[in-house]
Each structure stands twice: as structure tokens, then as C-alpha cells.
């Protein structure tokens, strides 16, 4: 399909991004503020020969998405915090069985039912630590309608490349704002697809990784037969309670994300070159921060921003590097401090100041400007 231009909302841009990435299976359950993705998919998926399936709950949704992915179909779900809470057990299953899939979380106010129609960024740590056990996750944080499209495509690419679930973590404001969206010509999109095995089926070891730490994926219906389980398993996929098998598997599952993090981490450096104060932000608050930084620059304050387009894996080295360049770091996020603690861990001894806002309206530009001035006066 040639290039298309739309004036649309972030949720719909996300759905279109998934379709452009080649997603042909959506399993979901209606939830505010992600419902528009489901509604859009219910119309669009059949048009492209795919399936929109509405399940009885989010648990069935995510598990069905794992099943669909094992047939070789790019698959996804979209929900909000309460839905993610229900999905987390099977997020672990997807991690353990190395299943590519995308989970979109249009973040709303929490805890619990919270404020369904108001945005927040309270699910950053949930995405990282929500399921039990040691694992790494990939999470992208778009800040505009166009990024909702672009980063959903990227989420699929990363999930396919590293055979792992990937979160798109967008706050409600990004999900519901309307902006111009350019959907590129499909031939201009770079799409990834999981590695498939090439060995003789009799020699196939379904969980033996290549040098990139990712194993080629046998699919249901192919000539490769396998057993996949959420139990700790060896290279054959067979369950094992041996200590070395557990250590090797868990280490590899973590390393395949951490050691490939340079291919995953995506950051925007905004006016940072001569900055003495750095703002770290993502999603909607980062838009306020840009305006605040421009205003501060007009007043001669040397301030810039490191905008996180990905929060997981955490950009440890980049934050440490930034901390060595500036005198102060301000973390502006729409919660009571989540990325803040990660920044503190890697910025030390550079002082890190939290600008928290655990509510629907993000930090406004003048509020961030005031904070910048307050820090400058220290």
C-alpha cells in the first residue's frame, strides 16, 4: 500500500502500526483507554485476512496470542494496567518459551481501577518486574501519534528478532491525542521476522541458541516437532530440575536482551551538548519538558533532555555518561517515581531530582520550567 496520511489518535496509529508490521492476530478484551485499538482491529484485521478475537478476559487474550504466535503469525494484544496485571503470569510464559508478541499498555491511573480515563505512567516497573522470576523485558515509550505507529512497528521487529514479548507503554494522553500520522509506503518499512530452523528435523534442538543467544523457532504445522513448556528446560525443550540447566537458561534469557541492548535502546538527546542540567523524561511529560527547555534556554539556562523512547532494557551506560556531563538531573514522570530510581542508581554521585505527578494531567511546561530554575539556583 502506498503512503497514507491520517489525522488520527494514538491508539489507532498503534493499531495501524501493528498491521503495517504484519500482525494478523489480535486477542483482546475491551478496556479503557485501549478500547479504540480493539475496535479498530475488529474492523481492520478481517480486511487484511487476520483475526480479531475478543476473549473472556485478559488472561485468555495473552495466552491465545502466545498460541497464535507459535503458528508463525505475528500476534498482539492491547490493554491497560488492570489487564496487564491479569496477563503477567503468561508474560512469564512468553519469556520462558521465547515467544515473539507485542503487548500494548495504554497506561491509566492506578492502583486498581484507578482513573480509567486519565493517563499516568505508573506501570513502568510492572512491565519490568510484574511476572515472577528473573527476566528482562523490552518496553518502548512513544510520545506522539507518529511514534505510536513507528514504535509499534519497532516493537514487532524487536519481538521477532529476540523472540521475546515486547511492551509498548504509552500513557493515556498519547493514546488519545490526535495528530498527523504518516503511514509510510509498505516497501519503505523494514520488517523483521523470527529466525526459522534450517537443520534436519531429526537434529532440531528447539531451545539451542545461536551466537546471538536467540534460538531459531520451530512452528506448529512445520516439519519441526517440539515440546515447549514453561518449566525450566534444556536445549531439547525437555523439563529439568537440574541446577545447571536453570542457571544456563535463565542467564541466557537475560543475556539475550542485555547483551543486545545496543540494538534495542532508543534515546533522543535534546539540547544536551552544553547542558549543565538534564531532564530525563518519556511519553507525554517529555513534550512539556521540550517546551520548558526551550523557554529556559531563552533565559540563558543551559538545560537539555534525554528522552527515553525505550525504558527497558534500561540505558544504564547512557545515563551514567550523561551524569558525568551535567551537574543535575531532573526526572519528570507521571507517577511517584519509577524511572527515577533507575536513574539514581546509575547517575550517582550526580544529584537526581524527582518531579513527580501521580495524576492525569502531566507536568505542564511552566511547572517544569519552575523546577529547572529551582535546581539552577541550588
Amino acid at each position: 500500500m502506498p503512503e497514507r496520511v491520517m489525522f488520527t489518535m494514538g491508539d489507532i496509529a498503534c493499531a495501524e502500526g501493528a498491521l503495517s508490521a504484519g500482525a494478523r492476530y489480535f486477542g483482546g478484551y475491551p478496556i479503557t483507554p485501549a478500547t479504540e485499538i480493539a475496535e479498530w482491529m475488529s474492523k481492520r484485521m478481517p480486511e487484511v485476512g487476520g483475526a480479531y478475537v475478543q476473549y473472556e478476559d485478559e488472561i485468555a487474550s495473552i495466552t491465545s496470542v502466545i498460541g497464535a504466535s507459535w503458528t508463525g503469525v505475528k500476534s498482539m494484544t492491547a490493554t491497560s494496567g488492570p489487564g496487564v496485571s491479569l496477563m503477567l503470569e503468561s508474560v512469564g510464559l512468553a519469556v520462558m518459551t521465547e515467544t515473539p508478541l507485542v503487548i500494548v499498555n495504554i497506561m491509566r491511573g492506578g492502583p486498581s481501577t484507578g482513573q480509567p480515563t486519565r493517563g499516568q505512567q505508573g506501570d513502568i516497573m510492572q512491565a519490568k518486574w510484574g511476572s515472577h522470576g528473573d527476566y528482562q523485558i523490552i518496553a518502548l515509550t512513544p510520545a506522539s501519534v507518529q511514534e505510536m505507529f513507528d514504535q509499534t512497528v519497532q516493537a514487532f521487529n524487536l519481538s521477532e528478532k529476540f523472540r521475546t514479548p515486547v511492551f509498548v507503554l504509552a500513557d493515556e494522553t498519547v493514546g488519545h491525542m490526535r495528530e498527523r500520522l504518516v503511514i509510510p509506503d509498505e516497501k519503505d518499512l523494514k520488517l523483521e521476522y523470527r529466525k526459522l530452523p534450517t537443520v534436519d528435523p531429526s537434529e532440531y534442538l528447539p531451545f539451542k541458541a545461536d551466537d546471538d543467544l536467540v534460538p531459531p523457532m520451530g512452528l506448529f504445522g512445520s516439519k519441526y516437532q517440539f515440546y515447549a513448556t514453561g518449566l525450566t528446560h534444556d536445549e531439547r525443550g525437555y523439563p529439568s530440575d537440574k541446577e545447571n540447566v536453570q542457571i544456563e537458561l535463565v542467564t541466557r534469557l537475560n543475556d539475550k536482551i542485555l547483551k543486545n541492548s545496543d540494538q534495542i535502546i532508543d534515546l533522543e538527546r535534546f539540547m544536551l551538548d552544553d547542558a549543565k542540567i538534564a531532564v530525563i523524561s518519556y511519553g507525554t511529560p517529555s513534550r512539556s519538558a521540550k517546551k520548558a527547555i526551550r523557554d529556559a534556554r531563552e533565559e540563558g539556562i543551559k538545560v537539555g533532555m534525554l528522552r527515553l523512547k525505550t525504558v527497558w532494557p534500561f540505558p544504564e551506560e547512557q545515563v551514567a555518561q550523561l551524569a558525568s556531563e551535567v551537574d543535575h538531573i531532573i526526572v519528570a514522570e507521571q507517577n511517584l517515581g519509577q524511572v527515577y530510581y533507575m536513574v539514581k542508581a546509575y547517575a550517582s554521585p550526580t544529584p537526581v531530582h524527582l518531579m513527580a505527578k501521580p495524576a492525569g494531567m502531566p507536568q505542564l511546561p511552566h511547572e517544569i520550567l519552575d523546577k529547572i530554575k529551582e535546581i539552577k539556583s541550588i
Binding site: 494478523r24 492476530y25 486477542g27 478481517p46 480486511e47 485476512g49 483475526a51 478475537v53 476473549y55 473472556e56 478476559d57 488472561i59 485468555a60 487474550s61 495466552t63 491465545s64 496470542v65 502466545i66 498460541g67 497464535a68 504466535s69 507459535w70 503458528t71 508463525g72 503469525v73 500476534s75 503470569e89 503468561s90 512469564g92 510464559l93 518459551t97 520451530g218 506448529f220 504445522g221 512445520s222 516439519k223 516437532q225 517440539f226 515440546y227 515447549a228 513448556t229 514453561g230 518449566l231 531439547r236 525437555y238 523439563p239
Partner: protein, 280 residues
Amino acid sequence: MTESTPVLKHPMAKYIRSDRQPFIYCSGCSIGIVTGMIARAIDNLDLDITKTVIVSGIGCTGRTSGYFKTGTYHTTHGRAIAFAEGVKIANPELEVIVVSGDGDMAAIGGNHLIHACRRNIDMTVICINNFTYGMTGGQFGPTTEHERYSQTSPAPVGNIEHPFNLVKLAASSGAIFVARWTAVQARRATKSIEKGIQKEGFSFIEVIGACPTEYGRMNRFGDGVTMHKHLLEVAEIQNGLPPHEAELDYENRIVCGEFVNIEKPEYTAVLREMHKKLKE
């Protein structure tokens, strides 16, 4: 020994991962028998094992999928049917079989079971009902009879709760094929599994099994052989009986047979029709 003894190979061994033997099942358990039924059904129907997917959840029966040489997957607890739905919808060419236990399917996975019945996605679900959570040591579950003993329903009262009748549950939820057999009625049960596989829609086959290690021991039902003999004695075949009359009274009467066999538009077939209409 100078002469080599001929090794007899089980006729169904070709479908089983021999490098994963022995099974984890206790002696006297019914799950091995049902594993054999599934293998025989696959064999009798001459299914292409590369196009067959066997899925199970967690628990003793949950381990069954992993012994087959087809594509197999061992899901989180209770989610086998939900996983299988994704597989079947994403690739309707595949033959999807789910095998799991009563706890996995009727307690933690109960919601998925009833909604899958309602949705009518073509798959065959085999529930081995041994009335207990065997893997965790024998606690009462959703099919444990009232006043039966278990690790969590001790004397003097036993189980305070009342059981599901899975045949009634599946039938009233909309399954298009519903049958119940005991593990000793292997030929009849295998036939029903074959019918379920051949039917286009959601088929549910309950197989009443014995857990002598846990449930049997705590309720003084005797060893595996005794328990299976009992199943044979109390099984009462009533093919075609309205499903709401398919009673299950472990002590006296287990009504067996095929109770539902109807036609209804199947999910993936309707979806394919929709794809066609949208192309026109």
C-alpha cells in the same frame, strides 16, 4: 546371556517421545491409559503429526502433551484451551487437541472452558477427571464429591463443597459434542475422541480416571486395579441420554456415553467466510 531377547515395541510408540520415558505417572494412574487412547485415535484417523498440536495445562495430566511427537505445548495453569484457541484461529489447518485435568480445566481454567464451548472453535478437549489435584499432593478440586476426604478437606467433615458435573457444564455452555467414559472403557472412549476430532467444532470428552496415590488412598478406594475395577462396575452406558441426566455418583453410578452431537457454525469457518466477503 548369549541369546538376545526380542524387544517388543508398543504399537503406539511411534507417537511417543521414547527419550522421555518413563512417564512421571504413579503406578495405577489412568493418565497413561488416556495417553494411549489419544495415540490410538491419531493412528486410527491417520492424522499428519506435523499438522497436529497437543496442548495441556498444569498438573499430572498437564504433563501429557510433552510425551507426544506432535507439536506440543505446556501452558500456564488453566490456560491450555485459551492457548489452543489462538493456535486454531491463527492456523485453522491444524488439528488441535487439548488434554488436561479436572482442576486445570474446571477450576482455574473454568472460564476458558465455558467460553470456548460457547465460541465453538474446532478443537477436541479431553478432560481426565480424577477428582483431585494429584500433582500437589491430593487436595479437593472442582469435581471432588461432597464430603470426600482430601489433604484440604480432612475428617470429620470432608469436602464442604459440591462438584461440577462437567458433562452438564460443557453441554449447557454450547459444546457440539459431549461424551463421558471411564478410563477402563478404552475402546469406546477412543471412538469418542476420534469423533470429536472429526467434528467441526468444540468437542468435550470427559474420561473418569483413578488417582490411587492420593484421592484413592485418602478415601480408602483401594489400589489402582481396584479403583479401575470399580469404574467398570459402576459405569452405566446411556448413549443419547439428555446431558442433564448424565449423573456421576462415584460410589454407585457413573453415566457414560455420548450425550451431545449437534452441528453449529464453527468459528474459523465463519471467519474464513468473512474474509471472502470482504475480498469481494
